[in-house]
Structures are given as C-alpha cells and as structure tokens.
Subunit: 453 residues, 2 copies
Amino acid sequence: MSRDELTKIMLPEEKIPKFWYNVQADMPTLPPPGLNPQTMQPLAPSDLEPIFAKELIMQEVSQERWIEIPSEVRDLYKQYRPSPLFRARQLEKALDVNSKIYYKYEGVSPVGSHKFNTALPQVFYNKIQGIKRIATETGAGQWGTALSLACKLFGLEAMVYMVKVSFYQKPYRRSIMEVYGAKCVPSPSNLTEAGRRVLEKNPDSNGTLAIAISEAVEDAIKRDDTNYSLGSVLNHVCLHQTVIGQEVKMQLEMVDDYPDVVIACCGGGSNFAGITFPFIPDKIAGKNIRLVAVEPAACPTLTRGVFAYDYGDVAGMTPASMMYTLGHDFMPSGIHAGGLRYHGDSSLVSQLYHDGLIEAVAVMQNPTFEAAMLFAQTESIVPAPESAHAIRVAVDEALQAKKEGVSRTIVFNLSGHGFLDLGSYDMYLSGKTEDVALSDTELQESLKSLPRV
Amino acid sequence: MSRDELTKIMLPEEKIPKFWYNVQADMPTLPPPGLNPQTMQPLAPSDLEPIFAKELIMQEVSQERWIEIPSEVRDLYKQYRPSPLFRARQLEKALDVNSKIYYKYEGVSPVGSHKFNTALPQVFYNKIQGIKRIATETGAGQWGTALSLACKLFGLEAMVYMVKVSFYQKPYRRSIMEVYGAKCVPSPSNLTEAGRRVLEKNPDSNGTLAIAISEAVEDAIKRDDTNYSLGSVLNHVCLHQTVIGQEVKMQLEMVDDYPDVVIACCGGGSNFAGITFPFIPDKIAGKNIRLVAVEPAACPTLTRGVFAYDYGDVAGMTPASMMYTLGHDFMPSGIHAGGLRYHGDSSLVSQLYHDGLIEAVAVMQNPTFEAAMLFAQTESIVPAPESAHAIRVAVDEALQAKKEGVSRTIVFNLSGHGFLDLGSYDMYLSGKTEDVALSDTELQESLKSLPRV
C-alpha cells in the first residue's frame, strides 16, 4: 500500500455549516399541504403546537433557502463535525474498478450515526420553549440513542418507545439509552391506548415504527411538560441533516471532484435527504448527477408504494401527508435493517421522486450483508446494516461502470457504524438471514389502510 | 452552553508522528534481561525468533531513542490519526471544579481502541518476513479485534484464543473478529496441549490471559507459517503506542498547556506506556509532572504485586521477565474490565514504577462505572470499562485539587469506546456489579507460582 492509497478528506472546524439548506426553496413542485387527521382539511401550523416546538413547526413550513443553525447546536456539532469524507481506495482495489468511490462517515458522532444531527436542534428548540420531557419512538435504536443523549446534554427527560422486534434483537440499544439516562420500553406497550389497542388484537405483535409513533404522540399529547420528536420523515428533520451534503460538497471541492452519483439508504428519508438535498439545485440547473435512494426489498416504499395521502402512524393520530407509502398498517418482515422498515417516506423525498429528480432502487438482505463484509474487510469500518444498503448500490454502480468501460465518481453516505448490530452479522455469517421481498398480496392488503381523502 | 464550552484539539495529518519513542534510551535503570524459560539463563534475541518477527525482536531490545514508523503503517494510521484531544468542559462543569481535564480519544480507530496502533506494525513486520498466519490471545476482545483487522488488511490469517469468561460475556466480540475474517475460539480450548492441561484440572475454567497466551504461543511454535503476537506488555508494544503521548504533547502545546498529571488504565501496560512514556524525559529532567497508572482492585499488579521474575503465561512457555506480578497462576475475579485482568505488567512500566518515576492506584468496580456514567452523560462518549478506570482517577484528582484550592491540568487516555461493553453497563445499572478487592490469602497463594531464579 502506498502513500496515496488511503485518503481522509477533512475540513477545519470553521467549515461546519452555519446554515441548514432548505430544499423547499428550490423544489419545482412543493408537496401538497398535510391534512389534519380529524378533519382531513389542510393543516394549520398551530395544529402541531400540542406536540412540536414552535421553531420546528416554522421550519416545517418555511420556504427560506437558508436557516441559521443556533450557536448552541453548532457548538455541540463541533465534537464530531465536520465528519470525514473517505476515498474508498481499498474497496476500489478489491473490486478492481477504476471508478472513484467516496464515503461520508457519520458514524463518528458520539452515538454512532447521523441521527445526532437532528436530535440536538430538536431538543434545543424544545428546551428554549420550556419543555421538560420528550417522547419519541425508535426502530433500530439509532434515533432513540441520539435523542436520549441530546436530552441528557440539554437537561430534558427522554421517553423512548422502541419497536419490539428491535428491542429484543438489539438489547444493548436499550442499555445505551439507559446509560444516557433515558427510559426505554418495547412497543407496543401497555402504557398508551394506542399500544393497548394493538396488543388486544395481537398480543405477540412485533411492533412497527407506525405503532411506536402512535404511542409517543399519545404520550406527548397527554402531558403538558412533554413534546414529541421524530427522527426522520418530517421536513425539519431532513433540513437538519443537510449539514452532511454541504460538507460533502466542500470536501469534494478540496480534491477537485464532483459526483456522478450520490447514494444513501432511505427509511423515512432524512439520511438520504441529508446528503442529497444540497445537490438538488445543481440537478435542477441541469447538472448531470444522479441521486439514488436505496431501500430494502422487504419494505420497498419508493419503488413499489403508491403516491398518496397517508398517516405517519398506525393510529392515524399524525397528519396525513402526501407520500410514497405501503399503507400505514404495513407490517414489515423482521429484516436486520430496522431503520429501513417504515411504511412511508418523507414528503419532500416523495415529491422529488415523483418529479423525477431522484431515483430509487430496492435491494435484498443477503447481498447487502455481503457488501457490508467486503467493506469492513477493506475499509476497516463495520457498517450499520442500514448504511450497508448504500454500500451495496455503490458497489453495483462501480461494477456497472466497469462493464460500460467508464469511470464514475460515486459518493455514498455511511450513516452509521455497526458496533451495536453485530448480532445481525452473526445471523448473516451463520446463514440465518433471509432474502425477503414484499409480495404483491401483502402490498395490496396493506394499501387498504390508506385513508380516503 | 457557549462557544468555549466544547473543545476538540485536532492536529493535521502531517503531524502523525514519523517515529516511535523508545523510552529505553532514557531510563535511569534498564530492566534486567529476560530469561529463557527452559534454562533460566539470559535470553538471546534469537531465542524469540520461532514466534516473533525479527524486526519486532530488534525493537524489543533496541536502545535507539527514535524508531522510524514504516510508511505502510503510517498510511494506515492516517485513517484515524491524529486522534482528537478533547477538553472535558462539560465534565468539569458537572464536577464544579476549576482544574482543566483533557482526554485523548483512541476510540476513533476503526476497531474502537488504541490496540490498532500496535496491531498494524506487528502484522506488517510479520508480513514482510513472509509469515502467513498470526496466533494471539485476547482478554476483553479489544486486542483480538485489532489484530484480526490488521491481519485482514495485510492479507494474513488470524487465530484468536479468547479468555472464556469474556467470550461469553461479550459475544459480539467474536462476531466482529469473524466479520474481519478471523477465527476465534474460547480459551482454554482443546486445540492445544496447554489448553487441554487446564481443562483436565478444571473443565469449568473461566480462562485467563496467561492461559490464552500459552495456547497462542504453542500454536505459533507448532506451525512454520505462524507467528505469535501480543497486544500489550512487551517493549515493542509499548513502543508502538507512543504515537498517543507524542500527539498529546503537540496538542497541549497548541493550547499552551502542560499536564500536572497524566492518567491511564494499566493492564499489561501498553496503553499507559503509550500516553506517558513521551513525558518520561521531562520527568527525568525534573519537570513537576505525575504519571499515574490505574488498575482494578481485583487485579492490583503494581500496587500489591511483587517485583520479581515471572513468566508472561500460565504454562511458563514465555521468557521470564522482571516485573510487578501477582504470580502467573493468578485467577482474577470476573470483573468487567477484562483488559485489566493480567497477572503481570510490562517490564518497562514495572521498572519505572520501581524507580519511582511513575505512580499507581487501584480502584473498585462500582465507583469506576459511576465515573463512566457521569462521563457518558456529560462528554457524550460511552467509555470502555477499562478506560473508565482512568476517568475515575481523573475525577478524583480534580476533586482533590478543588479540596486543596488549586487548579491542575489533568490529562487522561480514553483508550476505547464501550459500544461492545454495554452488557457490563447493564449489569452495573441493575446493581449486579460487585466491588471485589484481591484478598491477602489469594495473593499469597498465587505468588507461590513465581519461578525460582
């Protein structure tokens, strides 16, 4: 290995973005307004005040292009930002391709994923409004961990409803949330009406993000001192994650490069939004760049869902938004990328997909772990199973370019490390992970839960 | 929180040290020579050739002050080095002290601990000598993980004998080694004579590092394509870790500071050596600086052991070295800092302790976890239980300074993160961790295993 074979592209601290980039300022079509779940009439911002901080509601509907990052949040970003951009030279070599593969590494945050980027501002805005406690849901546990730490740092209590299948698949996720002082319960729980309703129908329910959201929202509505916080999907969450893509642009400029394709896994959409939205203006201006969202074949929201109004949660307590969705009753199989099992997608991501500005692809579980293993053994970092979806497609893109006899610049977001996901790797290594694609029958069934608008 | 409340002190890539610092060049007294375990006569370097790469043997006995880091190793250091030095402002605030507390964070390595600093050069020197396979032992699993990845990056096979109690306490450690392509078995195993001998006497043996070392050494002796690799204790391992302390000195210079006290946990001694040895010349020159090794009260090698010749392993296959030791038959209780359960200590560290150049202190398990929790909730990083020993003493030093009405500059090495140690935190949080100190009877018993010289 020679001097040039390892590349870490670092920005100085002062290059941490001072503003978040709001894609709503540049979208050719804005998503239609959210609907009040009771009246199915367009939502007024004030409808959200019982559960969200005012500043976050303003960000949700803002069309300002740049929104300033509060200094209190930016100071905490400084512990781990700017995050490194790596050139994956060892991976390129192992694949024997001449495309350039770069990855942005968000696993350097103290909680090990990009989720901390939005946990900090969400808790901050709640704190300055006098809120004392935050209720939230978590799937794989990345979000719950980030929210727990952010709450501890700003002196708020955290209450986390964790999708039951992940709660038991990843017991150390609960542990780390408790280390950060949070309370974490498996969802469906008997602490809420929404949870009890699910348990009555199906005491063995594995849980879903949509159920856990219902529980957390109900918790927040019931208590004056408590607000609700969501780790993806919403416009303000996508907004906060744009620090990622802004840094990537500056880092690529440092090496005089520009991507042909930017790839990220897509669950609720904020990770994908974070790295790709800052490239949307270039795309609109006619730049030849592809932005690719990767989802599991077991939960193919963009690639096989419908573009329709749906609720964000199972009980229909959240506003109905226009999105690609599999139906809020959708019950995904227990694949190991717990963060990618959500029935819907961010309205912003959905609209951009609908308008052809972004692409989507669905991949199976085993080829994804295969790519993750190759990555770990060449680039040294064990990726989170969610992030491995992006690796799979980055590898496929590089191989495809080779087949076409061209060299491309491929960038993907390594949204988190897999130190807390080693149980999943164990399953893969012992041949126990299945390749499950959603069946048409299941899809048609779950689409029946779409609300009438 | 204001702008000044978070400080990450970063060095540019070109400041990664180009040389390791060899403390043997400056020690007032060199440790007496190691003894051949068969003859108990002073060891010739060639006695080590059946199991170690020649370059490592030369480093073991070298008295050159600076030893150049091969560019192949330094290139791989670049993925994670220079590691950050943080000012622990939130911890200081929580403790309400006016001392300055800094921590060097080695958890940024892809394997999550400082062990990678020596795994890379060890495997590299074996590779250029044509060795195809490395056998090693691991306690908590940090070392085995580092060695596994280094082997994979340089294209060698790794065979890891893991202390049985840790193998079952930390199942994901085996998983990550397997992700990196290594083979990992619980020790004592029935793959070696040394393992079988222990199992005959005690089929339920929890294992010890000393047993696992015997197994790995036997494995390496038996196979021509295989060498042995040790993750701590030896002179060359301490040498490789000095990149840590060299960076710390430069980082403190950047903020115009110098430590009153440098603290690190001490198992075999290489982590402690890594951060403190570069300060030894200053100490010898009369600088007012204290270098403090922290060990668990359950395995108090420096604070309660004897300074004598002892073997590094249970079977007496390794050379006998002059060291502080509890006797190589010592069976530590199953505390959660698996990396600190070794019966002996590095000869270099032992000699420096004997000569009064360094200090040592032993701490209990529960106060250590208490400090770890406080650290996680203020500084955001969940520390490895081993590293938490250093935190405990750093906190105590800051509180003591407050009592004395003075402000001190306290630096400690946060040698690794605790993402794979959350089971231990779980035990602590549920009140199941015990405060165990070694009893005099146990100590006298295990000292009987010291060889006659």
